[in-house]
Subunit: 454 residues, 2 copies
């Protein structure tokens, strides 16, 4: 540690402008960044050097898109602006009273601090599941899952034991929200269009895809109509849906369900819930259900009961917990909430800087989308407008291209989608780095030897 | 091992056709594969599930291309042909007398065996260099190097110590063959076009790129004119060239040269030589300078002195050592040699199968190419035809697109090139998985912490 402190420093140039430190470059962070004018010195901090477009990670995991086209380097977005600094470091701790943050490359003071660190997968404190299940929050997760999926089929052709092959060819997705629906739909498309071509020696019909949901229906955050339609689509594509049931445990081979069922599988994909990705340094009085409790101006509460806030510490997006306007519950963990909060906070910081009063955040519901597969999606908009099938799918495509960052990425993703749509092909089924996430001794031995000289 | 042998088997279906086992799906292997007709059962074995287009790996390493577009899945190339099996396993040993190969998934007999395992980086038995230098033979190498290069600049902005920053911003490429020339040219283009935009706080002019060559000129395998022109191009772009000198040692911080010089650098890129990637099981009498000695029909010599061959064991491409037609030396390690040998061997196997006499291999020199950068390349063709500058560059582009496997890859790479050419931009400067190949404690600590939750 000492050596590091000597050599590395976060090294931000002096400036007469007030300093805004943004921790995290997800949807909230980058929309805040682009909304702030030249009135501030801005320091953007992230553990990665790129923004990740999380809604399309499931397509990276299922060989539909290259990892590079759902990510955009921050430095490319920032350009030559000398008042904006990017630092690829990890924030260890925040001290909101002393107005300092502590990172892997030294500490930094701020005039305004914005926590936009998003969420992390919530394995409900089960270490077995955390160890053996696949999360899907980062580009590396998507790449690991892609390698793992295709390794299952490479191994299946070489396995003599029918029982083991069955386990290799079974996939369990937990959580029937949009991510769970999208990944199980994409797996079903692999099964129906790609795998029979690639593995003629295998009976790909034996591949099984389970979608497990704790509540009583698919897409519980959407209407019953959308959920029902989605369930029908998925079942027609071959996904087996288990409702009102929970995963109790998973040792890497067997999923144990609360209702007593068991599923033998080498692949458990976890889309069942998230926690706020909290930095250290906030007391219990600031935290509500694993997120930072914020006022309607996105200020973090020093004490949520007394409504005392840190004047210059803000939280936006998935890491923040803001009461809904109607007082019922909190705002949902959607990209739209983060984007709108980022934009609103930018405007408020400019107002603060000019000595004007800030405005309260009002979430404008722009609808919810989930795609199931080719020509199949559900889209719900305020006023009970609901699109399903082809029209929902078209809306889904347009919205995702619109919010994808970077013209090059938009072009590449669009070209990929056209290509896949016309040819029914997915070009990107490469096992670049074999996954080692498997408790199966066969798999570990095989991939261990594979990796040896990588 | 026992458990694995019980469970995994290479599991090739019975067939009445003679079995050709091809080990390695590089240029030689896939051109052999596509030349063989329905007369054989073919088993293709590779440690990866994709063919790698090695000539463009340097563009992946320097953020010009996505990894996925220089690779093509074998199973996509093979399609539904039931007489062709792909197996993603590693060959441990070959027993040419018993006509068996032994793999990580059990053993397999063959009627004809073709070793097409290519080459591996030759670090001249220096374990320090092997540990600390970056090879560039596989997609994973290119990705590691790409992460490493951009990490150097992320760190440089945070380093207080001027001496350390100098080391971070110095890059040494060893070997001025086509690969060495291409990677140092690409680094110079990063320096001139991308990095000043991305790192406004750094004085990117201080980035130094060295190209070290043991012989007395650049591109020693090409003409003096091409070599001289290339040297001039590179020097104009800012590459510092050191000729007639060798790397003696590299501890991860300091390159020691034979002539007494030392260069402080965190990045040594090794393009200085290759060995045959030999499977175990061949005796010394079959091996010539680290490669399998083969007859002019690509048959591996049981004893190269007596010219006794294994009748049904062949080697092609970089792993094979075949005497040149004029008796002077051996054929060079070029993609064209591998491609032509693969095609010729396919024709010969068909002749053997029909009871016809085989034909000797004759290498047709189709020329040599090396690109330096935008609008700059050298191309030499038989009959002393030599193109440099823009015309050579155009030939280079066309030839590389032509031999790239897969229509989708051709389209993606072409689109990328047009994009980069028009915008001077490289989209793909992402640090997906931080590189940990560094002896610098700062780097290791930083990247170690970065990796912790990946």
């Amino acid at each position: 540690m000492e050596k590091k402190d000597q050599l590395l420093s976060i090294n931000i140039p002096e400036s007469h402008k007030p300093r805004v430190v943004i921790v995290g470059g997800g949807f909230g962070g980058i929309h805040l960044l682009s909304g702030l004018k030249d009135d501030f010195q801005i320091v953007l901090i992230d553990r990665y050097n790129y923004h990740t477009f999380q809604p399309l990670l499931y397509q990276v995991a299922t060989a539909g898109l290259e990892p590079d086209s759902v990510a955009e380097p921050f430095r490319k977005m920032i350009g030559r602006n000398r008042d904006v600094c990017f630092r690829m470091v990890k924030v260890d701790r925040v001290d909101p009273e002393a107005q300092h943050i502590y990172t892997t490359a030294g500490s930094l003071s701020y005039d305004y601090l914005v926590i936009a660190t998003g969420s992390q997968t919530n394995f409900f404190d089960n270490p077995n599941i955390a160890k053996n299940a696949f999360p899907l929050k980062q580009v590396t997760h998507a790449l690991d899952l892609r390698s793992h999926i295709f390794q299952q089929f490479e191994k299946s052709e070489m396995i003599a034991d029918e029982q083991v092959r069955k386990r290799l060819m079974t996939f369990v997705v937990v959580g029937a929200g949009p991510t769970g629906v999208e990944i199980s739909g994409a797996l079903a498309e692999l099964k129906n269009h790609i795998l029979p071509h690639d593995y003629p020696q295998l009976d790909v019909n034996r591949m099984r895809i389970f979608l497990v949901e704790g509540l009583e229906r698919v897409l519980p955050a959407m209407s019953a109509v959308s959920g029902g339609r989605t369930q029908k689509y998925l079942e027609r594509m071959g996904v087996e849906i288990i409702l009102s049931d929970l995963i109790l445990d998973y040792d890497g081979k067997t999923v144990r369900l609360r209702n007593g069922g068991e599923i033998e599988t080498d692949t458990l994909i976890w889309a069942a819930g998230v926690n706020g990705n909290l930095p250290d340094g906030f007391g219990e009085k600031s935290i509500f259900r694993g997120k930072l409790a914020v006022s309607e101006t996105c200020q973090v509460y020093r004490d949520q009961k007394t409504r005392d806030v840190f004047n210059n510490v803000f939280a936006i997006g998935d890491v923040a917990s803001m009461s809904a306007e109607d007082g019922k519950g909190t705002l949902p963990g959607l990209a739209q909430v983060a984007i709108q909060q980022g934009r609103q906070l930018a405007a408020n910081l400019l107002r603060i800087n000019r000595g004007e009063p800030v405005r309260a955040f009002r979430y404008r519901d722009k609808g919810v989308l989930a795609t199931i597969g080719r020509n199949k999606a559900v889209a719900e908009f305020p006023g009970k407008i609901c699109l399903t099938g082809w029209s929902g799918w078209l809306v889904w495509l347009i919205v995702h291209l619109w919010f994808l960052i970077g013209f090059r990425n938009k072009a590449v993703v669009f070209a990929n989608w056209v290509w896949s749509y016309v040819t029914y092909d997915r070009g990107i089924r490469l096992i670049i780095r074999p996954s080692t996430k498997s408790t199966d001794p066969v798999s570990r031995e095989m991939t261990g030897e594979m990796r040896e000289d990588i």
